[in-house]
């Protein structure tokens, strides 16, 4: 049934959107996302999808148009990167709090300044508290699979939240890999028909969208977002399992790679996990029991589940492709650390790959070797480290 084709990460995102056939898609170009929407625009132009395509004048308008279209009851998507995500952030918070399940591939790119076009996670990390579900992809196949699942996850009645599908700029967006496609029929059957819980101009149930909440209801509204995020934990796992039944590709909140007997491990997001798996294999050939925890769902954050693994392994490096200035280290490290305190494991942070600086398997192997040293000596040393940096 499945078709295997060579696709870039951007192609894979476009194929997923094409197979889902959303009602409305807002488009605005930004490197390295541009080609995703080029490809989708071609499908819209050729009548392959029935989507209403809106080329807007900025990302602020793209997210606003998505807000309007989702509020009007349409299944809606857009895609962006970096500065585009930063510019639309004002509206992203509103999309989430209004509980509109917009789907948005975010092709991760460093935020200015200095101006840069290459990969890091500073863009989506800046929106980690915006109320969006955030799912990271390791390769083009996952971009396709995650984008399709995103509609199901976000639209679930007990969730109703927008979803970012994160993919590493250039590393994934512009490199080609074999990808297995569901095709429109199976994809649309999987996501199901869209029945918005609330929409404008439902004359039997007239509503206002986004009304003023002051001291009276604002707080409760936020509390409801918290509850929706809690439900999203289950939604991501449930939809991933169901997708696995359909395709044979199972998705959980994270993927454990050779962790069961691991003495040392690293935790990472995105394409680096692929490199880390190679590094773990290389380390194992040298007798180091290395493993990788590939985090797929960053929001909601599966802190307890991660802590269990970290405490079991005992010596772990957390890889951050962004920095939380003034907090020290990166956001992933600090969030992991806030959950594992009780177990007192040895935990270190490596900030790497900012602005697209490459990280290779040899470097990650050196991290495993360092973790072994830490484990043996009992001395964690410097908590906040950099790798691949000139100092």
């Amino acid at each position: 049934m499945a078709e295997l084709v060579g696709l870039t990460g951007n192609d894979a995102g476009a194929e997923a959107l094409k197979d889902v056939n959303p009602d409305v898609v807002a488009v605005f170009p930004i490197t390295p996302q541009t080609e995703l929407m080029h490809k989708f625009s071609a499908y819209a132009n050729d009548g392959v999808v029935e989507t209403e395509l809106i080329p807007v004048e900025s990302e602020h308008s793209a997210q606003s148009a998505c807000f309007g279209s989702a509020a009007a009851g349409a299944r809606t998507a857009t895609a962006t990167s970096s500065q585009g995500l930063a510019l639309m952030s004002e509206i992203c918070y509103i999309t989430a709090s209004t509980r509109l399940p917009v789907v948005m591939p975010v092709v991760n790119r460093a935020l200015s300044g200095p101006i840069n076009i290459h990969c890091d996670h500073s863009d989506s990390m800046a929106l980690r508290d915006a109320g969006w579900i955030q799912i990271f992809s390791e390769n083009a196949q996952e971009v396709y699979d995650n984008t399709i699942q995103a509609f199901r996850i976000g639209e679930r009645e007990d969730v109703l939240l927008p979803v970012m599908v994160c993919l590493d700029g250039f590393i994934l967006s512009h490199t080609m890999e074999p990808v297995e496609l569901l095709g429109p029929e199976a994809a649309q059957k999987f996501v199901g028909e869209y029945h918005p819980a609330f929409s404008l101009l439902d004359t039997d149930n007239p509503i206002s969208i986004g009304p003023l909440h002051l001291t009276d209801y604002y707080f409760e509204c936020k509390r409801q977002e918290v509850a929706a995020m809690e439900n999203a934990r289950h939604a991501v796992a449930d939809v991933g399992r169901e997708y696995g039944e359909l395709t044979g590709r199972n998705y959980g909140i994270f993927e454990k790679y050779k962790l069961d007997d691991a003495d040392v491990a690293i935790i990472a997001l995105g394409s680096t996990c692929g490199t880390a798996k190679v590094a773990a294999d290389q380390a194992r050939e040298k007798g180091i029991k290395a493993g990788v925890l590939k985090l797929r769902m960053f929001r909601p954050f599966p802190g307890d589940e991660i802590a269990e693994i970290v405490n079991a392994v005992g010596t772990v490096a957390v890889m951050d492709r962004s920095i939380s200035f003034g907090l020290r280290g990166g956001p992933l490290f600090n969030e992991v650390r806030s959950f594992v305190n009780g177990g007192c494991p040895q935990l270190v942070n490596y900030v790497y790959g900012l602005g697209g600086r490459d990280i290779n398997a040899t470097e990650i192997e050196s991290i495993f070797a360092e973790l072994v040293r830490i484990k043996k000596s009992g001395d964690t040393g410097e908590l906040y480290r950099y790798i691949g940096l000139r100092e």
């Binding site: 170009p29 541009t34 080029h38 625009s41 395509l53 080329p55 300044g113």
Partner: protein, 263 residues
């Protein structure tokens, strides 16, 4: 002549000289692109007016992003579309300097529409060099607000349609309605004589700023052979035959003339 040694500098055609304000960085622009022409014109006018030590430019996001690699003057980068606002900040602090904002049509008339309108409306005493190539060049040829009707782009693959995508925006005419704008001229880069008119327009805009008369802008109808899917010669013809019909070149507003009349 025949005894020229390899050590000797090759003779240049009569009169050609690289402006002092232009670095010798090799161009990154596509063959036939208009950005390089305007970069050079700006450098020539700065040289001729002796402004190199008093000019500050703001570079856009777009194909003009590397302006600082070409001009030997102080240049600041700005976020996409925010160039005139950054230029405003600079000019308020250094009112005696010549402050330039260099922008493409996406930067100026799409994502940065608010900034250009309000900068002009406040009559900020800066000069904008506006490259209208009817496309987003840098990101690979998507529709700009200045894209022609029926023009095929990556986001209007069947051609721009007024009903869905709106009509081309006439920036000079739009800004002319604002009291703060002092000098607005549209020029074409389609021929050597038009390029010379472009140079005059830049000079006039700089003079307007130096005289403290307010906001000035020169719009250049500029070829983008790559995303017009034409060769450079066809692209120049296209400016004359198509673009210039929709965006007629000429002085759209000139307060210096109006003020002369009043006197």
């Amino acid at each position: 002549m025949s005894s020229t040694t390899a050590a000797k500098k090759p003779k240049r055609p009569h009169g050609y000289r690289r402006p002092d304000t232009l670095t010798d960085a090799p161009t990154h622009f596509c063959p036939g692109c208009g950005h390089g022409i305007v970069h050079r014109l700006v450098a020539e006018v700065i040289d001729e007016m002796g402004l190199r030590e008093s000019a500050i430019a703001v570079a856009p996001v777009g194909c003009g992003v590397l302006a600082y690699d070409y001009w030997k003057i102080d240049v600041s980068e700005a976020a996409h579309g925010r160039t005139p606002a950054v230029a405003t900040g600079i000019k308020r602090v250094q009112p005696d300097k010549l402050v330039l904002s260099y922008q493409g049509d996406g930067d100026l008339a799409a994502i940065g529409t608010a900034e250009i309108i309000h900068t002009a409306n406040r009559g900020e005493n800066i000069t904008v060099l506006f490259i209208n190539n009817a496309i987003y060049g840098m990101t690979g040829g998507q529709m700009a607000p200045t894209t022609m009707l029926q023009q095929k782009t990556a986001t209007t693959q069947a051609g721009r349609e007024a009903r869905v995508h709106g009509n081309p925006i006439h920036v000079c005419e739009l800004l002319a309605t604002l009291d703060g704008s002092a000098y607005l001229e549209r020029v074409s880069l389609s021929s050597p004589s038009n390029v010379r008119k472009g140079k005059k327009a830049i000079k006039k805009a700089f003079e307007t700023q130096l005289a403290g008369l307010g906001f000035s802008l020169v719009e250049f109808l500029s070829p983008c052979p790559t995303y017009w899917r034409m060769n450079p010669v066809e692209a120049l013809k296209h400016i004359d035959q198509a673009l210039s019909k929709v965006f007629p070149p000429g002085v759209v507003k000139d307060k210096t003339r109006e003020e002369g009349k009043d006197a």
